[in-house]
C-alpha cells in the first residue's frame, strides 16, 4: 500500500528533484523488464535463428502477445484504482463466441460492426462488474470472481457443444489475423493503438490521473471531491470493453472458438501487469510496463521449448517470474523510501528555520515514515 503512495508518479509537489528521481526509478523498473525481455529474445535467437529472423518467427513474436496485451492494459486500468477484474477471461470467451455467432448467423455482416458488437458486449459486461463493485461496496475480487462464474456459465450455456469454425467466419475478417502493414501484423497494430491511447489517457488526462489518486488512497480521493464511484465504474467498463475487443481479436487470430476460449487467462493478465510493475494495491504502475510484462510472459512461453526446457515447465517459470517481480518491487520501494527519507530529512532541516510555510514539508516526511513502520511489521 505504501508502495503505492511512494511510487505514485502523480505527486508533483515534492519538488523537481524528487519527481525526477521518481521518474528515473519508475523508468528503470520498466526498463528492467524490457531488458529481460530483450535478453530472452536475444538468447533464444542465438540458439535458433528462426525465433526472430524467419518471417514467421518475427510475426509470431509480435502477434501472439497482442491478445494478452489488450487484457493487461484493461487490467492495469482496474488495478490502478485498487481493484481487480478476474472476469476478463470469461468476457473474452463470451465475445469471441459472439463474434463467431454473428458471422455464422448474418453472412456478409461488416467487420466493423462485429468489432463494435464485441466492444459493446464487453463494455456491458464490464458495466455489470463496475455497478456491483462501485455501488455494492464489495471488493472487486469477490464480485469479479462471481461474474467469472456467471459469464462463463452464460457462454457455455449459449454455446452448448457448439463450436465456431473458420469456415463460419468471414474470410476478410480472418485475413486480419494474418495480414501485416509495413511488416507489422494488423492485430498487433490494433493492440498497440489501444496501448498508446490508454497510456496517453492515464499519463496526461485528468480522468487518468484521478484513477491513480483513487488507487493511492480512496478515502482521500473521496474527501478531495473526486468522483470515485464514477471513475471506478469507467475503469471497469473500459476493462470489459478491452476484454471484448480481445475476444474479437481471439476469433480473428485463431479462427475457432471452443468452450475453453480464454479460461484461466485472467490470472495471466494480472500476472503481466504485476510483472510490469503495476502494484496490486493500486496507485502505481503504467500500461507500458504491463504491456512489456505481457510481451515477456508470452515470449517466455514460446522461448522455453527452443532453449530445451519442456513447455510443461512454462507455468512454473511464469509463477517464479511473478514472484520475482513483486519481490523486486518491494526491494526497489524500500530503497526509494530510504532515499526519500534521507532527502526529506535534510530538506526539512533546511526548511525548519524559516518556518511559516512549514506545513507541506512536514507532511511529506511523516507520511512515508508512518507507512514504513506499518509495513516493516506487516
Amino acid at each position: 500500500m505504501s508502495t503505492a503512495l511512494v511510487n505514485d508518479p502523480a505527486t508533483p509537489t515534492r519538488g523537481a528533484r524528487g519527481t525526477q528521481l521518481l521518474g528515473a526509478l519508475l523508468r528503470s523498473r520498466e526498463l528492467a523488464v524490457l531488458v529481460v525481455l530483450l535478453l530472452i529474445v536475444l538468447g533464444t535467437t542465438l540458439k535458433s535463428n528462426g525465433f526472430l529472423f524467419s518471417s514467421d518467427g518475427f510475426r509470431n513474436l509480435l502477434v501472439t502477445p497482442s491478445l494478452l496485451l489488450l487484457l493487461a492494459v484493461g487490467q492495469t486500468l482496474v488495478i490502478v484504482t485498487r481493484n481487480v477484474d478476474l472476469s476478463v477471461g470469461s468476457v473474452l470467451g463470451l465475445t469471441a463466441y459472439l463474434t463467431g455467432r454473428l458471422f455464422a448467423d448474418n453472412p456478409g455482416i461488416p467487420v466493423i460492426a462485429v468489432f463494435a458488437a464485441g466492444l459493446a458486449m464487453g463494455a456491458l459486461l464490464g458495466l455489470v462488474n463496475g455497478v456491483l463493485v462501485a455501488f455494492g461496496r464489495v471488493p472487486a475480487l469477490v464480485i469479479t470472481l462471481g461474474t467469472l462464474y456467471i459469464y462463463r456459465g452464460i457462454f457455455l450455456t449459449w454455446a452448448g457443444s457448439d463450436r465456431i469454425n473458420a469456415s463460419d467466419m468471414d474470410p476478410g475478417f480472418l485475413a486480419l489475423g494474418t495480414r501485416s502493414i509495413l511488416g507489422i501484423p494488423v492485430l498487433t497494430l490494433i493492440a498497440l493503438g489501444v496501448l498508446a491511447a490508454v497510456g496517453y489517457y492515464l499519463h496526461t488526462a485528468r480522468g487518468g490521473r484521478e484513477l491513480y489518486a483513487i488507487g493511492s488512497d480512496p478515502d482521500a480521493a473521496t474527501l478531495y471531491g473526486l468522483r470515485v464511484t464514477r471513475r471506478v465504474l469507467v475503469a471497469f467498463v473500459l476493462s470489459g470493453a478491452l476484454a471484448g475487443l480481445a475476444g474479437v481479436v481471439y476469433a480473428a487470430r485463431y479462427g475457432t472458438v471452443s468452450s475453453g476460449a480464454g479460461s484461466g487467462i485472467e490470472l495471466q493478465a494480472v500476472g503481466a501487469a504485476v510483472i510490469g510493475g503495476v502494484a496490486i494495491f493500486g496507485g502505481s504502475g503504467t500500461v507500458w510496463g504491463a504491456a512489456i510484462g505481457a510481451f515477456l510472459l508470452v515470449t517466455i512461453n514460446r522461448a522455453l521449448p527452443i532453449v530445451g526446457i519442456s513447455d510443461f515447465w512454462q507455468r512454473a517459470v511464469v509463477g517464479a517470474l511473478i514472484l520475482a517481480a513483486i519481490v523486486l518491487d518491494r526491494v526497489l520501494a524500500n530503497r526509494q523510501e530510504r532515499r526519500l527519507r534521507e532527502q526529506q530529512g535534510s530538506s526539512a532541516a533546511e526548511a525548519a528555520p524559516p518556518g511559516p510555510d512549514g506545513p507541506p514539508v512536514p507532511a511529506g516526511p511523516t507520511d512515508p515514515t508512518t507507512h514504513h513502520d506499518e509495513e516493516a511489521r506487516a
Binding site: 481487480v84 456491483l132 455501488f135 455494492g136 461496496r137 464489495v138 471488493p139 475480487l141 469477490v142 464480485i143 470472481l145 462471481g146 461474474t147 467469472l148 462464474y149 456467471i150 462463463r152 456459465g153 452464460i154 457462454f155 457455455l156 450455456t157 473521496t222 484461466g264 490470472l267 494480472v270 500476472g271 504485476v274 496490486i280 494495491f281 519442456s310 510443461f312 515447465w313 512454462q314 507455468r315 512454473a316 517459470v317 511464469v318 509463477g319 517464479a320 517470474l321 511473478i322 514472484l323 513483486i326 519481490v327 518491494r330 506499518e374 509495513e375 516493516a376 511489521r377 506487516a378
Partner: protein, 362 residues
C-alpha cells in the same frame, strides 16, 4: 451484523451516537439467530427440503454419498481458508497445491516405489512447505497475499505439470482407492472422508473460536496494528495459517488422487475459486475480522446440494456455475445493500432533526 442493528434504529427517535455495541445490546437468541451465518444455514435447510421433496431421486441413497465425496476437498480446504481470510489475507494457490500433491503421490508411489501412506505423508509435508513459502513471503517479506499466491498458483501448478507432463499415474492399489470411497458404516450414505473432515472441523473450531490463537486471528483481521500492540504475533500467526492451508490442501490432493484413482498435473484446476466462493457464501468477510465456521460449512454444503439437485434435474454444469456465481454476488452485496438502504432511511430521519447528517453516512 450491521443490518439487524440498524433495523433497530426506528425505535430510538433521537440522533443516535455512532458508537454502539451491536453484539451485546441484544438478547442471546437474537445474537445467535439474526446473523449472516444463520441465514446461510436456513437457506441450506430450505434448499435441502425443497430438493428432497421436489427433485426426483434426490431422496435416493446415493445422493448424499456422492454429494459429500464431491465436496470433500472444498470442505477440507475451506477450514484453513476461513482462517486465512479472517486475517484479511487470501490464498489462491491451494488448488495448485492439491494438483502438486496429487502428482507427488502418484510419482512417489509409481516411480520411487513408496507405499501409499508414505507417499501421502510426503505429499502432505510438501503441501505444508508450499504453504510455508507463501506464508514466509506474505508474513515476513510483507508482500500482498493476492499477488504472492497468484504467483505461486502458477508456480506450484507449473511444477505439478512439469513433473508429469500430460501423462497420468493410475493403478493405485485397490485397498487405498476403495478406502477413499468407503462408507463409514456399510449401507449408510456417509463416506469415510467425513471422518478426517470432522476431526479437522473440531480442531479448527477449537482453534478459531475457543483459543487465544483464534482471537488473535480475528484481531489481525480487524486491525493488525492493534493486534500487534495487544501482543499478538501477527507474522507468526499468518505464517502458520498459510502452512495449515498448504498441509490441508496437500491432504486434499491425496484424497483427490485416490478418489479418482489418477494423479494428473491438472487435477483440481479452479478449485480455489470454489473454496473461496464457499467461504464467502458462508458469511466470512473478505475484509477480514468476521466469520464463523458453521456458516462456512453450510456454505460449502449449500453449493454441493444445489449442484447435485440441479444435476438430478438434468441441468448442465454451466447453469450450476451461473447459480453459484449469482449466489456469491448476491450474498456479498446483500449486506452492503441492506446497510445502504437502512443508512439511507436513517440518514433521511436524521436529516429532519439536524442539517449536517449526510456527511457521516458516506
Amino acid at each position: 451484523m450491521s443490518a439487524p442493528t440498524l433495523s433497530d434504529a426506528p425505535t430510538s427517535r433521537e440522533p443516535r451516537s455512532e458508537r454502539t455495541y451491536p453484539a451485546y445490546s441484544r438478547p442471546l437468541w437474537r445474537r445467535a439467530l439474526l446473523t449472516r451465518e444463520f441465514a446461510v444455514v436456513a437457506l441450506l435447510g430450505v434448499v435441502y427440503l425443497y430438493s428432497f421433496n421436489e427433485v426426483p431421486a434426490f431422496d435416493g441413497p446415493l445422493t448424499l454419498y456422492y454429494l459429500f465425496l464431491d465436496i470433500a476437498p472444498i470442505l477440507l480446504i475451506a477450514m484453513p481458508m476461513t482462517m486465512v481470510i479472517i486475517t484479511g489475507e487470501i490464498d489462491l494457490s491451494v488448488a495448485s497445491v492439491v494438483g502438486l500433491s496429487s502428482v507427488l503421490t502418484g510419482v512417489l508411489h509409481q516411480d520411487a516405489g513408496l507405499s501409499i501412506p508414505v507417499a501421502a505423508l510426503v505429499a502432505v509435508l510438501v503441501g505444508g512447505l508450499c504453504g510455508a513459502f507463501n506464508g514466509f513471503l506474505v508474513a515476513y517479506v510483507g508482500l500482498p497475499s493476492l499477488a504472492v499466491t497468484i504467483g505461486t498458483l502458477a508456480l506450484y501448478r507449473g511444477i505439478a505439470v512439469g513433473l508429469l507432463g500430460t501423462t497420468a499415474v493410475t493403478g493405485f492399489p485397490d485397498r487405498w482407492t476403495d478406502l477413499a470411497k468407503q462408507r463409514i458404516v456399510e449401507g449408510s450414505s456417509w463416506p469415510m472422508i467425513l471422518v478426517p473432515f470432522l476431526l479437522l472441523l473440531l480442531f479448527t473450531t477449537w482453534l478459531l473460536h475457543f483459543s487465544t490463537f483464534g482471537r488473535g486471528v480475528y484481531e489481525i483481521g480487524l486491525n493488525d496494528e492493534a493486534a500487534h500492540f495487544t501482543g499478538v504475533n501477527v507474522e507468526l500467526t499468518k505464517f502458520w495459517l498459510f502452512v495449515f492451508a498448504g498441509a490441508v490442501a496437500g491432504f486434499a490432493g491425496v484424497y483427490y488422487t485416490l478418489r479418482y484413482g489418477s494423479a494428473r498435473g491438472d487435477n483440481a484446476t479452479g478449485l480455489e475459486l470454489q473454496v473461496i466462493a464457499a467461504v464467502l457464501l458462508g458469511g466470512v468477510s473478505i475484509f477480514g475480522g468476521r466469520g464463523a465456521l458453521h456458516g462456512v460449512v453450510a456454505g460449502a454444503v449449500l453449493i454441493g446440494v444445489i449442484s447435485s439437485a440441479m444435476r438430478l434435474e438434468n441441468q448442465t454444469v454451466n447453469l450450476i456455475n451461473i447459480v453459484i456465481g449469482v449466489l456469491l454476488v448476491l450474498s456479498v452485496t446483500s449486506t452492503s445493500f441492506l446497510a445502504w438502504a437502512s443508512g439511507l432511511a436513517a440518514g433521511r430521519r436524521r436529516a429532519r432533526s439536524t442539517d449536517r447528517s449526510r456527511t457521516s453516512s458516506g
